[in-house]
Symmetry: D3
Subunit: 247 residues, 6 copies
């Protein structure tokens, strides 16, 4: 893939294949089995992993566990205040869509037999939003999940590690005709195409969700975007590893 020169460049001045600064802060809060504050630039998401000794009704007695996710946004994570979903009486369509995506993505890296009859809930709460909250959430939730599973393995003396591999996610898109990596809010609200890609550390795709915002996208644009995503996810997996390597 050629890296085309942006006519006027990205609003942030980043190269088209450049991630925003990524930070992964573990043990951000005290009670959860895993607790990670992940930042993709100004997007900050608190991801906690909670282990409970129960399974959903449809898994009772099957000897396997479950991984699920919930997503929320603090009312003033956004530039103007968003109504609190609890006050409005329920979760909206966007929230449900995102938390289903996070849950499916993380289940893809867990051996549910090895987990045993337990539920791990990944709560991803956006403290500050600047585009890419769902991809930051997946990337951070993976680290919280690993911390929780490591604790569980020690505490319960599990025979094998339920984690099958790493999972990370990034958005890609076509902005002013140019494929770019990791869109921030300014790009996200003006781009032609927006695609969220979830991959594992073996280079396999877990989820690909691409949406034409402005005009329909072509196969070659899709190929360029997927190549950017592969590059970005490799860097995110490295950042996850580095974070997990610290005590």
């Amino acid at each position: 893939m050629n890296q085309p020169i942006l006519p006027s460049g990205r609003p942030s001045g980043r190269a088209s294949d450049q991630l925003r600064p990524v930070t992964i802060e573990r043990h951000f809060t005290r009670h959860a089995e895993g607790s990670v504050l992940v930042s993709f630039g100004d997007t900050r998401v608190l991801c906690t992993a909670s282990i409970e000794d129960r399974v959903p009704p449809w898994l009772r007695g099957k000897g396997e566990g479950w991984v699920t996710a919930e997503y929320g946004m603090l009312p003033r994570a956004t530039s103007s205040r968003t109504q609190r979903e609890a006050a409005r009486g329920g979760q909206g369509g966007r929230t449900m869509e995102i938390q289903r995506l996070i849950g499916r993505s993380l289940r893809a890296c867990v051996d549910r037999q090895a987990l045993g009859e337990r539920v791990i809930t990944l709560d991803c709460d956006v403290i500050q939003a600047d585009g890419g909250t769902r991809t930051a959430a997946i990337t951070g939730a993976y680290v919280a999940l690993v911390d929780a599973v490591n604790l569980l393995m020690k505490r319960e003396n599990l025979r094998r590690n339920p984690i099958l591999g790493a999972i990370a996610a990034v958005s890609v898109g076509v902005y002013q005709g140019v494929p770019v990596l990791d869109l921030d809010y300014l790009e996200d609200s003006a781009c032609d195409t927006d695609m969220n890609v979830v991959m594992n550390d073996g280079g396999g795709f877990i989820e690909v969700q691409g949406t034409a915002e402005g005009h329909a996208f072509r196969r070659d644009e899709m190929n360029d975007m997927l190549a950017l995503a592969e590059k970005g996810i490799a860097e995110l997996v490295a950042a996850q590893r580095a974070a997990l390597a610290q005590g």
Copy 2:
């Protein structure tokens, strides 16, 4: 793309690149501006298009219209009875995800300025489900939308046609290691990967939503699936045209 020989074949005996029989029955009900019963094999979805002379609050006074969709499933469209969402007190996450997809897809083929300050609502209600309800819904809703817009153009003497082109959708997946087109329920519940693809009649992608169910999918599998989708959608667009050509 080579068409591989299926070890034991598809449950339906179809070739890997073969759609189920598609029927598009216009004017299925009387009141709606557009009303289409679409069948992809045993999947049957009633799609109605309703025009209202109002716009959502955020579009007031902007001189443009809106296209939105709602999705529902009759309780016994499925092999065991599903609880009615109205009785349960609200729409679930799956429903919201699907109706958001349908709405986004159809908006991609509408010139909202040309539509003027009107809302077109596409109600897609599944009468019988056998896999692929959302792709059938998008394919049928397009035809209902065209019928409604044609009526509107006559009735309101619109200066230009708000329809920019055709939209259709199909699912593709990897079943027993083989990429296949238009999964039915048996395939859908046993496949490794499931991807819904929405395209326009110019061969552009509107939405691509791929999910690894069993194992992560590779770039080459993705390419095979996208090629199958292109073939299937060309056939669906032809079926839409044939239906619209009838009185």
Copy 3:
């Protein structure tokens, strides 16, 4: 009862004691134990009967079953779009009133001991509305119920038939001073009195719900309406029998 000559006649040109054309199409969908599309003229209701091996909490261990009904209307079954109840967050008063009526009516023809500890749910979904949706629903639901019970008797080798007799329903009213049978929407919205009558095939009354819309009705009008109902229901029971007699 004399058949008075209508001053200007019924909008449809029917005689005052004439039903709309009635069709009863069995096996309309594939999954349900009973599935009937019933039409009273332009009113079309899909009635499915679903058997489940459970009973409501208050019947546990009592050796008897339950029959219940749910009613819905597709958003564009009506001449202008009605808001989807699932989207609005719950069923409205009219829906609840109607589904309670359908459930009570059908329970009147079932021997719940003979049914055993099972629930049969009758889902009545209006595809197209032109007045009389609840009476069409009851009439069609009876046929779906019989199909489901016949299946159950074969499958479970029941000792005796839980069906005690046939049930059908029709509306009657006073339109422009004249008692008429089976009101369509135009009559329904302009009539003085509207009465829904549910009867069994022995000529007994199961439900009588009469409402004065314009002015209060007199005993003689009531008698005339009941006589019309008796005539109409006899014809509906014959139509049910004819439908059930077909393979």
Copy 4:
């Protein structure tokens, strides 16, 4: 109609055509424009009429008013505690059915043009239940309505009285094979047929809602029940007049 001798008699010892003691206490509470505590034996319902200077959206600018009703039951009005609907998150089907009946019945005695652009809400709250709460509610609500309208006529100097005539309601049924008037809870839970009848003081029927509980009822039983209802309602209208005649 012959008054048959009851084999074992009614639980209360009443004659088959005998109402329970009826009391109508006006001005029971202070704030409402009309406030009536009505008792049918041990059934006690507080009916208030509230006037508001607004109309529902669909009546704006039409120069006519509206009359509506809401029904509630205090949690311990019944012999075992019923869950509070506000705590359960909404009104159930029975409540909606009853309040729709009360509203329709009272609208039948109001000239909505004469009322002008106002809403009168009749709140009927059951303090103690012993069968027949809806008929007591309608009978009491009429008196509260008249008090409110009289106040309104004085206060606003209305040109003509919006009240067209009196409305009252009573239940009738077939208990142990015998038609009886004004069922109490013991009779109501054991009867074969239960019918609620709303009439005006001219002997016209406003609503007739009959339900076969045990077996289907015949025309002659229906005639007997309607005759009992006519007798009972004449007495109830007299009781309303007597109450309204007091200062």
Copy 5:
């Protein structure tokens, strides 16, 4: 505490340390184990106590019971009609706050081990409101609770009385600069400070909830208000005793 002379006096003409007339009518309704209509002047609250042989999930098998409360207001208890909470779809913040207060207060006088595995629910429904509904509710609910417990002791032969002592409540405030006892609505809506005080018959405080409405209040004002509350509650406890002494 000095009793200051009010500049213009209280709207009701009461002395600053004078309660409104208090009446406590036991056995107001028939079904509940305890049923009390309490009046603080024009404020009238129906308090019922219901005993159920169950405990909340978190108390199962612990050998102790629970006491809880629910609060409601009839729509026209107030000078203009308040929307019915059941119709609005749930209890509001004020209702929840009040019923939590009533429940906590009454639990403070119950030995939950002596009660055994039972729930007593105190339903406090405001029939007419004129300020002080929550304090009247607590004062009346105590009497209903005692009646219910006495019945339970007889019926179940309890070994010891679960009632530990009496509980009553009153409001105090600063009105036009003067501390006053038992505010009515006129005072309540114009006062500077409003404080609800719950005490036991030993002079101990159970709850103190003071709110500055106009300006912040000082320690000396607080002391004056608490002294008024002590006086008022002593009188209320005497009224409770007198009521309970009657048959």
Copy 6:
């Protein structure tokens, strides 16, 4: 007030009149007009102030503004996971009680005429809970409010400062017989009395909410607790000033 020697001491080893370490971090997030992360020991609450140019319906055209608050708790702020209120379908009683308290408290320090027709919403979201979340929320929300108002004064050139003075809050209680300041979770769950006190910087009381958990509390205990609260709030006001003095 004497400082009694604790028999076994507080779990944290603090003196009975000693606050936990307090930190107030301004500008914690970027979008809100005021954004403060406040910590009382391990209790951490994010408080944002959002200004909107609208007023609630009942204040339209009155030339004054409104201040309101919403409270939430991240699901894993607590030692075991709490269900998300948005997923449960609404805010619970505890949440409503707390956010009403926060709103009332902050309104007490705002001149709503000076604010003009605007709403300031204080969102208080608990990131980590260890007792005293509502008092930390009020203390932090005041600082966020001041930041927002200062911004508003600059931006809109307000003529006078709407802030009337400082507001802070602290909990006090009786733990093992000893009055203590600023209870943490261990103390809170084992104390005899728990009291939340909100004061202004003039030493006036805004809210006092005391609850006997174990036994009723006496006047002298109340006096001791209020004295502790006065001391604690003076320190909190100093911490607020210090935070606001920084850039």
